[in-house]
Subunit: 143 residues, 2 copies
DNA sequence: TTTCCACAGAATAATCATTATCGTCTACTT
DNA sequence: AAGTAGACGATAATGATTATTCTGTGGAAA
């Protein structure tokens, strides 16, 4: 179990490279994220950070995480978290997702439908389905 | 371009099988979803349906879509739409997502990191990255 | 050193998406 | 005819996120 994939020194270095100031709050937010592999949401991070910085505000957490993501210091699991997106397609398929305009296009591909599922996945979980998310910048957004 | 993957007759049949009443509103909601491949959110569907059913309410649209999904008539692109989930991992990796408790676990797998990306994806898009989402019921939720 | 300025942070309001509640209606049972 | 469950509409409530505004601070420039 190795969570500390991004040691603090690397984080600080990355901030410097991007002209981001390294503040105690930012370090705390980053550490709250790195401390485990739980993919926390802003609320959880906020609560963790409050232990050491009781006056920090929600907005700061949101803005900081957004900034980190913008500069590639962290990622988000999916970029489609703003609203539910429905699909009438119920057969196995995959998705092309434009990270700018959030357009979603279905992708049907036999090869992708038959990926070898790692044992790590099947060993302790019941797999419902899977789908490959291609995060792209689409033609329309590329101009 | 083939969107009508689920003709209306099949929809009606599926409703009957699941003891769901087939109402004009439900047909309209389903057709608003099937009419194109745009993966609309509830707001868009609401606006489309209002053309024929001006008195329909937002709540009905939400509840109906939820019902459809529950019975497997439609799907959602991702089940992590309720809140942003951050990840300190910036190297290519994949996700195991429990559809019940929404736990997310990173998955590192060389094979999955080197999938052949279909030409359909690369031809008109700039691929930022991709990630395989395994939707599962995790050990904890399986009891 | 002093002044200036941009960024960072805190507090708070506002917005947007979603869910819950409640009353009504209707088809179907008893 | 009365009862019941599901469906619908109206609306309130909640929860997540974003915007706004003000204050502070550290370093660049004078």
């Amino acid at each position: 179990m190795e969570y500390n994939t991004q040691p603090l020194e690397y984080f600080i270095e990355s901030c410097r490279k991007n002209n981001l100031k390294v503040t105690p709050q930012r370090m705390a937010i980053f550490q709250a994220l790195v401390q485990d592999g739980s993919h926390p949401n802003p609320e959880i991070i906020y609560n963790r950070v409050r232990a050491k910085h009781p006056t920090i505000s929600f907005a700061t957490v949101y803005k900081t995480l957004e900034t980190f993501e913008k500069f590639g210091l962290i990622t988000r699991v999916t970029r489609l978290h703003d609203t539910v997106r429905y699909d009438p397609e119920i057969e196995p398929h995959h998705h092309i997702i434009c990270v700018k305009c959030r357009k979603v296009i279905n992708l049907f591909d036999e090869g992708l439908n038959n990926l070898p599922v790692p044992r790590e996945v099947t060993s302790s979980n019941h797999v419902v389905d899977y789908s490959v998310h291609f995060n792209v910048v689409c033609e329309d957004c590329n101009n």
